[in-house]
Amino acid sequence: MPIELFTDKWPGNVRTVTIGATAAQGGTRTSTVTVGGQKTLPFMHFEQETPYKPVVALEIKDHRPDDWSPLLLQEWGEVMDDPARWAKAAEEAGADLIELMLNPTDLEGKATTPDASVKAVKAVLGAVGLPLMVFGPGQAELDNALLVPIAEATKGERLVLGICEDKNYRTIVATAMANEHLVSARTPMDVNLAKQLNILITDMGLPLERILMDPTTGALGYGIEYGYSVMERLRLAALQGDAMTQLPMIVTPGFEAWKTKEAKVGEGVPPAWGDWLSRGINWEVLTAASLLESGADILVLRHPESVRQVKAAIDELMRVPEKF
């Protein structure tokens, strides 16, 4: 029986965003990453071609974090003491790009200084040719104090700077504009708040082609369903033609999944939780794989095995089915 497929015809599409600049483009990267451009819901190849695949970033820090799961400390080992080596190891683990997340304090517990963070960023840029995202510790004043000198010292690299939130975006957007960078805009799981922040940022003059949208991720078991559905709603709005939602989405399953007790704690937990290491990786991969289905363009992960599994999934999802 011949079947007439049900296809959607969407008036809108997601914008393409390119991260990183090669020497020819005014930066020093050896590769760039382009995401977005979809004209359909995720991987509906029978409707339209999906021009760019989702990509995987690995999260690294400017020095060894004190609150990461022991499993991650064990996995990365001593490279965690040197952001350049860590970045190199992340590249070898298959990351398409790097997210450098700055610690709020140095190893002595003093507030991170602009000098030290510029040095860390430079070291990472020197060690790998991958595009880079640099996120502050998440405290408005400190973020601004660190990100401005970083943006200036790396002018033209098309880094992604973050995190822009409704309470703190002006300084970051201004420095991204002045120094040819991009920004990541985070809102707490709400379609209208996401649109509003994108409007505020574009009103300052930053073109949409330089904005990523972070709808906020909840880990599996800790609110994934909220983030999952907000992403589906944002993507539907984008395809329906709502300009302020037509941005590629960045999600942080690594950060969220490895914060959970299931991934972080190995002892004194119910036997029904099973093997600790596999459970931690499964927690991250199931979170990430679900968000791929709801429209993630950039997935920031923490464990190399998760990178392997999620990249394999992306390759499969991008394969255009011949018969179905």
Binding site: M1, Y228, V265, A272, L286, S290, V310, F324
Partner: protein
Amino acid sequence: MALSGIQIYKLLPQTNCKECGFPTCLAFAMKLAAKQVELADCPYVSEESKAQLAESAAPPIRLIALKADGYEIRAGNEVVLFRHEKTFYNKPGVFVKVTDDLSEEEIKAQVGTTESYIVNYVGIDLTLDGFAVESISREAEKFAAAVSAVRAMSKRPLILIGTDPSVIEAGIRLLDGETPLIYGVNRDNWEGMAEVARQYKAALGVAAATLEEAADLTEKIKGKGVEDLALGLASSSLSTNLTQQAQIRRLALKKNFKPLGYPTIAFPTNAAAAAQAITKYAGFVVLDKFAAEFIYPLLVLRQNIYTDPQKPIQVQPGVYEINNPKPEDPVLATTNFSITYFSVANEVEGSGMPAWLLVTDAEGMSVLTAWAAGKFDAERIAKAVKTFNLADKVSRKRIVIPGAVAVLSGELEAELPDWEVRVGPREAVDLPKFMKLVLA
């Protein structure tokens, strides 16, 4: 697809005879559309109209239920493509497969661990739903032996997998009074399989290479009088599977395309495929092995995706006594969002240390969400302390607030002048250490 009142009206006699108890046929049609009356209340509907109304009332995705010994695993009856549009209703049953080339002992050992598996997530006990038994040997006796080995260890619903009707029959014969699913119906064996399904009142799962083939098969089988069907499609990649699942759901819901209006069955072999099965529409999920560290997150994912978006899972506000607290033990304040409550309660319980857990009415929101929404502030916490008469329960008035809302401590001291307000750690995992070192 459900008909509107006007569409139903056109199928009624339009004589306004009032025998149904309504003044006009239109009024009756409106009630019928709202499902507040039964069609049988009108004695004059034509047979033809009856058939049309029944057809349109049938859900676009047929509900099927696998049953055994009081267990019932349902699939189908879904009404939306995206959970935010309403909700997903029937959680896909998760089955673990055993094969008949294993020895009786091996099967019993595998089924035993899976059967007794139980894990608690936010107060809900999660278990697996049943077993799939696959004929690898193609021998009737071996298959029957495998089925009885499974039945010796578990009473949960079964899926019988094979391609030879006589082999399947050897197994299904042992399942008196149950509704299993027979899987593996194809172009060559469908008549024999339909016969077995009809005789034993089982559901049938087609195993097709393409949507077209699946639709052909369901129509043929339906012609033989078997209507409880499930769709299994061979897929070479995640994208093929996604395409098939999306088309099946879309065609059923948007076009009321009956040949594909059935729940689906998926056989994921890795984490990403399992996540896809849960998020994108599988009705039954068959895993080829049991591993607690994989099953636990998978069952949690299923729980999350099938939560009704309109209703966060909540616990009752009140005072929860953990580890038999005495008057000198501390009060811990938290919200009534299930995930929040259980993260805290489980930690404290596990530590063995006694505490009074004050669960405030934060309309089912997490600590920071509630704080941002104005549902977990000093005033509300103080009110809860009073409403639940905590002052009468404790002798030493100490209240610990979550580290995430440290900013509230000043205001709370003002609201509760005779209480000692302490700021706890940000994460519940660190509570036992905090209680031991700081509160002791």
